[in-house]
Symmetry: C2
């Protein structure tokens, strides 16, 4: 039994997710790409549903997405789920250095990109999360653009983030970058990023971030 058959035996799974979340979208894209069946279960973050005792029993960190496999195994953290789903797929480049590069971009995503680019978008889409001060907003815009600057440096020189193929590193960064303008980020100044977004779209499943999976 090869490892893809082993993985398939753990599905259908249940994905606990919040539709507008880029972190959740990463996992939805991977599941669609691998054609793995799952039930989509909305966790309404606006109504605090990721902080209920029921949800915290599944993931004590209180974050979506959470993927519960058919055997009850609970997988948390979007990038760690991406890795588990795709480590032997065509979305994982080969070689030790390539794996390091994938993880390097994923760390960057969780530390520099998501806490800025995703946060302003979430506040714009869901005013219920509360208002930011003008100083906070300016700071998040500035730091988010710095993160986008770093991506642009790479993507103005090469087609994808790691080697010459679409990988889970691209999926991890695509999720919030392709909707960064919704948070007030100016993507017009980044021609490398815009060309990369178009290349990603060609290789990704046709599933929008605001589209409930079938």
């Amino acid at each position: 039994m090869n490892s893809r058959t082993e993985i398939a035996a753990l599905f259908p799974a249940t994905l606990y997710d919040f539709l507008s979340s880029g972190n959740g979208y990463k996992v939805r894209l991977a599941l669609a790409h691998l054609q793995l069946p799952y039930r989509y279960e909305e966790v309404d973050l606006v109504r605090g549903e990721s902080r209920t005792s029921e949800f915290l029993a599944r993931n004590p960190v209180g974050k979506i997405p959470v993927l519960v496999l058919a055997d009850g195994t609970v997988l948390c953290e979007s990038n760690a789920i991406l890795w588990w789903l795709c480590e032997d797929s065509d979305w994982m480049p080969e070689g030790r250095l390539a794996r390091q590069r994938v993880l390097q971009w994923m760390s960057f995503e969780q530390y520099n990109h998501e806490p800025t680019v995703a946060v302003l978008r979430a506040r714009a889409l869901h005013p219920e999360f509360g208002t930011l001060s003008e100083a906070q907003r300016t700071d998040l815009l500035k730091r988010g653009h710095l993160a986008l600057d770093v991506m642009e440096q790479t993507l103005s020189r090469r087609p994808f983030l790691v080697e010459d193929q679409l990988s889970i590193a691209d999926v991890a960064l695509y999720a919030y970058t392709h909707v960064a303008h919704q948070g007030g980020y100016d993507l017009h100044r980044y021609s490398g990023i815009r060309a990369w977004l178009a290349r990603c779209r060609q290789g990704l499943p046709a599933l929008r971030i605001d589209e409930t999976p079938a």
Copy 2:
């Protein structure tokens, strides 16, 4: 040639680092464990040395640690460097699910733990970084204790974060947890974490976080 021999051929390396950094300390611990030789190069964050054009040419994100291998290859992001160094060592548990768990804890570390636990400690050790408001300090204390609560839930039930052995997941979390009290976090309330810290110390090289590598 096995992969450990291939890795050894890429040393001595140069580690760009800031001594009090837990992120840097993770890499120092792994290098000591694997007995890989390297030159230690201090980057004084207090004096802004991670924002110079020379440093940004190496790592555009402007963060330490950066490990430059003997062939010039530049590795960034502490957890991605840990993975690259240790993926075939006794600090990496075997199996697909175990790798997912390691990455899950590393994501947690970079998103929930480091931005709270490390930040208050850095401000305490280096007042030059600027003063936090009382509200900011209270918020960081609260969110850092929430992260420690999550660790305690796991570590009150099991000896290490992933399976029954010391792994890079433990190293990633040990780095800032063992000095969390320096930022004002109360470790006395966490008996599981304290027992785990003692177990980690038994398995880790005898190198303190404030000890310049030989």
